[in-house]
Amino acid sequence: MPASPSKTAQDQKPAFVFKGTIKRLKSATMKGVPVDERTVVVTVNQIIEAPPALADYNGQDITVQLGGRQKVRVGQELIFHTTSWIFGDSIAVRSLTEEPVTYRSAAMLSAADDPVERRAQREKRDRFDAADLVVSGKVVAVRLPAGTAKRSGAASLDASDRAPGGPVSEHDPKWREAVIQVDEVHKGSHKKKQVVLRFPASKDVMWYGAPKFHPGQQGFFMLHKSKIEKPKAKRGRKQPRKGVVEEAAVADSEVGITEAYTALDQTDFQPYNEPGGVKTIIDSESLKPKG
């Protein structure tokens, strides 16, 4: 079975950063929220970074569960680094840290960036940093992984079953391989003209969010080495021919797990015609002094 993390937990990473003024102590903006010494009502003055669901709370009162131990007072203005907590008639967030509004934070506050875009860009930056290989190029073929092709020869990409008995779980990923003709390598090392990535063709809830690839797609690919199930070769049959493309690593035949490049996060592929995002990161990387 697949064992590839589709996304690692981002523990203690703030999702909603804003400047706000403490309005009430030991209070909440809605019923049902547990209130203690560290629960306060805060007026949001300026959103710095936010997911779409929290992007429109400028000027609104929300509940904040303070994270630090510092004492706060009504009227105090702070920058809150928070994660989501309770959504009801109003919202409550959990603060990881609070910091005073200082000269150091002025640049962050004065930037005119869209808070949602700023967060999205940070997430793309995180994925870029975590990627083992970043290339730009074109998908030239999509195929079944070697060993899963049907006995009749040509692999049907619509086949819902990998094995004669079919998938054992409704969450079967239905792995496919996309062959990418590489235009340029932006991160990592790759000397071949092509690279293969595995992607789940499944429309199950577990895999739907992962990018699906088809021939002709062009753009930037952030590739991550992942451990995934290795199709077991059938006894007495010819082993899959070693192709012209380079696999990420050699399979571990004992445990049936192999390592392959994947692009499982929605942000791992960006078409050429989409502005910003990975392009901006690549540009900024190229400006960094070498060595």
């Binding site: 589709s6 709370y57 959504f87 004669p164 577990m206």
Partner: protein, 498 residues
């Protein structure tokens, strides 16, 4: 976006909060009256609530495959679940919770492992100790099962991981507080499909002391026969307070693509699974092996989609009568003709030894859920696809009830479009939903289209999110920006008056 003072609300928009100082009191009765929010008349004894909170009025996720827990010792406290992502995109997925008997709901992100669509499969259950347990597949790692616990479902502290195991599918949890050796303890039984024991994958992980810091879980493979490949994903336990625990699963006989054949098998344990060979108390008269085969060689099509926009393949439920552990009901789905997906309800009145023929048969329906109340009345929740073309097809959510398993009442909770919205992923409305009882009352949850139309909810409905039932439109929190129709979870309570 929260309503701003300068924002003019669209005429006729209803919402859960009319103003900051409005304090809603929990409804004392669900007798016919104007709903505070949905503007629809509720039938006597019936409460149906769209669980999306008002602050999430702008969401249009496919919040499918719901589950529900009601604290038996404090039934105003409830927790629901669905494929709902954390709105903040944080590391924890949300539960839905209510502290007013299901009249209002909030999200609390405390389930470890938020993914693109929240957690993976999730089921939730309360013990009367007020402890909430959950069986989940994490949303951030493929097929990693966690069994979770919290003593405070409104707190911001993530649920504690009691058990973590990889390569496991569809955890379905049950919990109870029982007396073992004169001591009250929480017992937890979690049915799951464990691919670490192929081919006998049908498994129950169980503990008789779930409240200790690090509970010890026993893993019992409940299929005594050798299946072809693996067992089906749905493995369901049912607990009786006298020590009887039933399990039901689908033993695979053969598989060729989407055409699969299964036996429906019931197992039983009489001592909360504490013996040397748990779940072997019930034997089949034909082969003498443990596990009574209730139905043999049934064709169960694995189709995506197989019923409207929904997939088919593993629909199963079990319930034991709390007044008599010998009475146990099961329901499953299979194909009896050429294109159908048919639900069958059967009952045993001798602890699973002998079984009735179908006491209820429903064609083209899924998501069966059974529960028996404190006076032995059986409830059966399911969702039936009606209509012949995609444009006319409806998902009709029924609650059938019976005191004798022969005569059944029929309460239609929802009759919603099966074509709108267009499916985002499988499952469209869910591979399961849930029904339970506290005392005589039935509580349940289902997912369906949230298109705001009184005709879709013949016994009334209450929306927290902004909706206009006259114009059939959904609005964002500003009350003006239209929001597309999506799949939402709906809570219901049916009060038994007699």
């Amino acid at each position: 976006m929260p309503a701003k003072k300068t924002t003019k609300k669209a005429k006729g928009v209803t919402s859960g909060a009319k103003g900051k100082k409005t304090v809603k009191k929990p409804a004392k009765s669900t007798a016919k009256k104007k709903s505070a929010t949905g503007g629809l008349v509720m039938s006597p004894g019936v409460l149906v609530v769209n669980m999306i909170p008002r602050s999430r009025s702008g969401e249009h996720n496919q919040d499918s495959e719901p589950n529900l827990a009601v604290d038996p010792a404090a039934p105003l406290n409830m927790v629901g679940s669905a494929f709902t992502p954390d709105p903040g995109g944080g590391p924890n997925a949300p539960i839905y919770f209510s502290t007013d008997g299901g009249n209002s709901w909030k999200l609390n992100s405390i389930v470890p492992g938020n993914g693109t669509f929240g957690t993976g499969d999730i089921t939730v259950r309360f013990s009367p100790s007020h402890t909430l347990y959950a069986g989940i597949l994490r949303g951030d790692v493929s097929l990693r099962m966690n069994i979770l616990r919290t003593a405070n479902f409104t707190s911001s502290t993530p649920m504690t991981v009691l058990l973590s195991r990889d390569n496991v599918d569809q955890p379905y949890i049950q919990a109870a507080r029982v007396t073992i050796g004169a001591v009250k303890k929480d017992v937890v039984f979690n049915g799951d499909n464990d691919f670490n024991s192929v081919p006998k994958t049908a498994t129950i992980n169980h503990t008789t002391d779930a409240q200790v810091a690090a509970p010890v879980f026993k893993t019992t493979r409940i299929d005594s026969r050798v299946p072809s490949g693996v067992d089906a994903p749905s493995i369901r336990p049912a607990i009786h307070s006298n020590g009887t625990v039933y399990g039901v699963f689908l033993h695979r006989l053969s598989a060729s693509g989407s055409v699969r054949r299964y036996d429906v098998v019931v197992v039983r344990d009489d001592h909360f699974g504490t013996g040397a060979a748990p779940f072997t108390a019930l034997h089949d008269p034909t082969d003498a092996l443990s596990g009574r085969r209730v139905a043999l060689n049934r064709l169960i099509p694995w189709l995506m989609p197989g019923l409207g926009q929904e997939r088919t393949g593993s629909s199963l439920t079990i319930a034991v009568d709390p007044t008599n552990s010998k009475i146990v009901y099961i329901a499953w789905a299979d194909r009896v003709g050429t294109t159908d997906y048919t639900l069958h309800v059967r009952v045993s009145k001798d602890s699973g030894v002998n079984w009735s023929s179908d006491c209820l048969t429903v064609t083209n329906a899924t998501n069966p859920a059974l529960a028996v109340n404190s006076v032995g009345k059986i409830g059966f929740l399911y969702q039936q696809l009606t209509g012949t073309t995609l444009a006319t097809q409806r998902w009709v959510t029924h609650l059938r009830r019976s005191t004798d398993g022969v005569s059944w009442s029929d309460l239609v909770l929802a009759r919603t479009s099966a074509s709108t919205p267009v499916r985002t992923f499988f499952p469209y409305i869910g591979d399961y939903n849930h029904l339970l009882t506290v005392g005589k009352d039935f509580y349940g949850i289902f997912s369906a289209s949230n298109f705001p139309d009184p005709a879709n909810f013949p016994n009334g409905v209450k929306y927290q999110r902004n909706a206009n039932f006259a114009t059939h439109k959904l609005f964002n929190i500003d009350g003006a920006t239209e929001v597309p129709v999506s799949i939402d979870p709906f809570f219901f309570k049916v009060t038994e008056l007699t």
